[in-house]
Amino acid sequence: MNAPARIKGPTTLVHGPRGGCDRPVLKERGQREVFCGLTGIVWLHRKIQDAFFLVVGSRTCAHLLQSAAGVMIFAEPRFATAVIDERDLAGLADAHDELDRVVTELLARRPDIKLLFLVGSCPSEVIKLDLAKAAERLNRNYHPATRVLAYSGSGIETTFTEGEDACLASLVPDLAATDASQLLLVGALPDIVEDQFLRMLSAMGIDSVAVLPGRNADAMPAVGPNTSYMLLQPFLTETAARLAGRGAQYLPALFPFGAAGTRAFLAAAAARFGVSDETFEAVIAAPEKRAHEAIARHRPTLAGKSISFFPDSQLEPPLARFLAEECDMRPIEVGSPYLHRQHLAEELPRLPQDVRLSEGQDVDRQLARLEDDGPDLTVCGLGLANPLEARGYRTKWAIELIFSPIHGFEQAGDLAELFARPLQRAERLAV
């Protein structure tokens, strides 16, 4: 458990300053039904085009990855598992030597790899295989051709999206230093969405904007005391802490979901960089209008419908805010694996007062509450979706909210549609 990016468990975290939100939170500690942080590899490897993710783990880890990735069409994916076997455990083989051998084999096969992440798993952490040390050692051999970093995506340390947090956090110590004034956007979004944000910011005259992670190993941003960073995703706890450690300033805002979220997010950037109201409004006018129109198309389907969230990605509170404010939905329970009070300081107060907030999970108890609540739509993981459908609940797969482009003005309509589609389908079907 020596991986560099230690993510503390949900209830042990020290809370940041309370953002004026002291609403009661139901804390759960029972069986969880969520992916581990390894899952983040599925989208991270596509974001950083010359990175390879090598999980040091078991056959279970390999199986999880391929099951979460779902498809096998890649000729050779940029992720793999170094599967620990009996010999490694029995001490017959030195695990570090074995790892070096596997990395050598891998890099010989894939000389195009510029950034190699050693990703810790539950087994590697339980046997105390120090991947940070391994990365240091491997760097002596492979840097600068290939940079080797380590982070933990293990299920005992990280829940689903916390894997991305751990990965991005592992990049931070390596970032170049800069004194320049700049805006840093943090979070791995699809390139097309990222470009939309960059275009709008640039149109406002904010030209020095950097993004973490960069699209390849050579495009990682620099950071320093005159960097203001904004989080594109609510789950980037450790990354934020490390950026603060490098002197960067946290710029709080709503998360850019829906028209209101995106406006508020961009407004925070505009205010920080002295953009005039006029310019700001001129830049966002057209896309914001498109967003409003696109959302309006789905509002008739969504308005008045109740919705509950199973804890999954930590996106639950901002999404519930969007659905309540802009789609007139009625959130009943908003469950999240972890509520970061500081990063959600703007979000939580905007949730309707009667919303039940829950943190952590006890899946059977939540299923019992669902039975009482009877929501029109339930957002849950893939393991629960069909069983709930079979019991007459309409569901939305939470993982689609992570895999699909949903941030920003241009995607606001798509985001609403993700929730509208299961409801519309239920209406259509007569079988």
Partner: protein, 538 residues
Amino acid sequence: MKLTMWTYEGPPHIGAMRVATGMKGLHYVLHAPQGDTYADLLFTMIERRGARPPVTYTTFQARDLGSDTAEMFKNAAKDAYEREAPEAMMVGASCTAELIQDDPGGLAKALDLPCPTIPLELPSYSKKENWGAAETFYRLCRTLADPATAEGREQASCNILGPTALGFRHRDDTAEIKALLTTLGIKVNVVAPMPARPSDLVRLPAAAFNVVLYPEIAETAARWMERAFKQPFTKVVPIGVGATREFIAEVAALAGVDPEPALDDDNSRMPWWSRSVDSNYLTGKRVFVFGDATHAAAIARVCAEEMGFRVVGLGTYSREGARTIRAVAKDLELEPLITDDYLEVEAAIKAAEPEMVLGSQMERHIAKRFGISCAVISAPVHVQDFPARRSPVMGFEGANVLFDTLVHPLTMGLEEHLLTMFREDHEFSDEAGASHLAAHAPRPSAAPAVSSEILIAPPSAHAAMADGGCAEDLIPAEAAGLEMPALEWDSDAQKELKKIPFFVRGKARQNTERYAAERGMSRITVETLYDAKAHFGR
């Protein structure tokens, strides 16, 4: 440590889950971290199950380690018993819990639950999914089967062993074989693991013999029952017409009944379909077969003996099944491929140059990358391998299904001729794909396209596939990492190429260019074209 990009089999506890999920009234408490709950989606999404697998995960976290993970396990087991009231419970550890050595078996025993509790020891760091399923089923049988139920058993009675959740066509095979046994007047005592209850396993000894449909899963238990209850078990897996006939003879002998009623099944259409003149074009088609040992071995035999194909490669990812595959490979004069590394399989497929690949979902994807026709005949499975209609691969109906499955990806013989006939017609367009497939929507073209209806031939053919393509998201060869040399075709060769029917033209071009490239030629002439044709022709 082994570098693994993809794995055919999951860890052994997934095998245990396949057994538990196939059964009713059984619950499995698995000491495992939260991420391991991904396994639920295999059943709820791939198999579209409408209920959660009967599994409770303890989902311990780092902060629990060293303090109270054992306590967590006990609580989870107790709660699960109270919530589910199962007839029996299995307890075990996944890879991580195996390392922390909490001994779920001992902990569960100490709880003294009022139902049989079966501890599973499934070594995650050496064994895999099928082994886990076999071991789990064996443990269940050992714990639950009551020898007293053997009293007064009839000779014409059997159990059907092997079907589990997430198996390749297990649901339909079981129904098919059950019907076949009923035709013979053989009583089916218990079908297990799927869909039996623990209380059904108690009376396993009441049957005179066991029918083993999937040796990967049921052979360990069947061997033990052979010793413990004097129940012989079947060795023939009834896939294909020939094997089904042998299977009928085998069970009839074990049961002491007349095999005839099952042997002349009017619904066995496969032999005539294969003898029909239209099937001539199937002769000698080169096929590569890879999968679990049972399916790969049986299907290779079907290909060779019942379809008239030429099997150019045969292998399995299951080391336990290597012997089965070696035997068949020897008969077919092939070097068997025993590996669980899909990159090796990919290389073998490339080298064997098959016209069709029969394998698991992974081989389907490999074939797609190479633009080779393919069909799925084995686990690991994908959502498409759970068709809504009945679709067995065992018994005579299974053989009918196999005929369709193996012919569907290839261009039909009749259609081949008709396409050639219509080729010069003005309304004919090369750009037309098979009209029944959206993925083959015609490429833009001024001329109206001929549709497969005009061609009379059954619309099941994938014209574009013979064109080196494939019905689903075809990845260009370049993207798949195949080098595409820049070769120059001289104009006569170009013209000659044009005369080749479009649906084989792509292949002809590809083969010719490959032939030329391999010989370091830079210009392709008519000669080269025919040299290549002779080289690649069978």
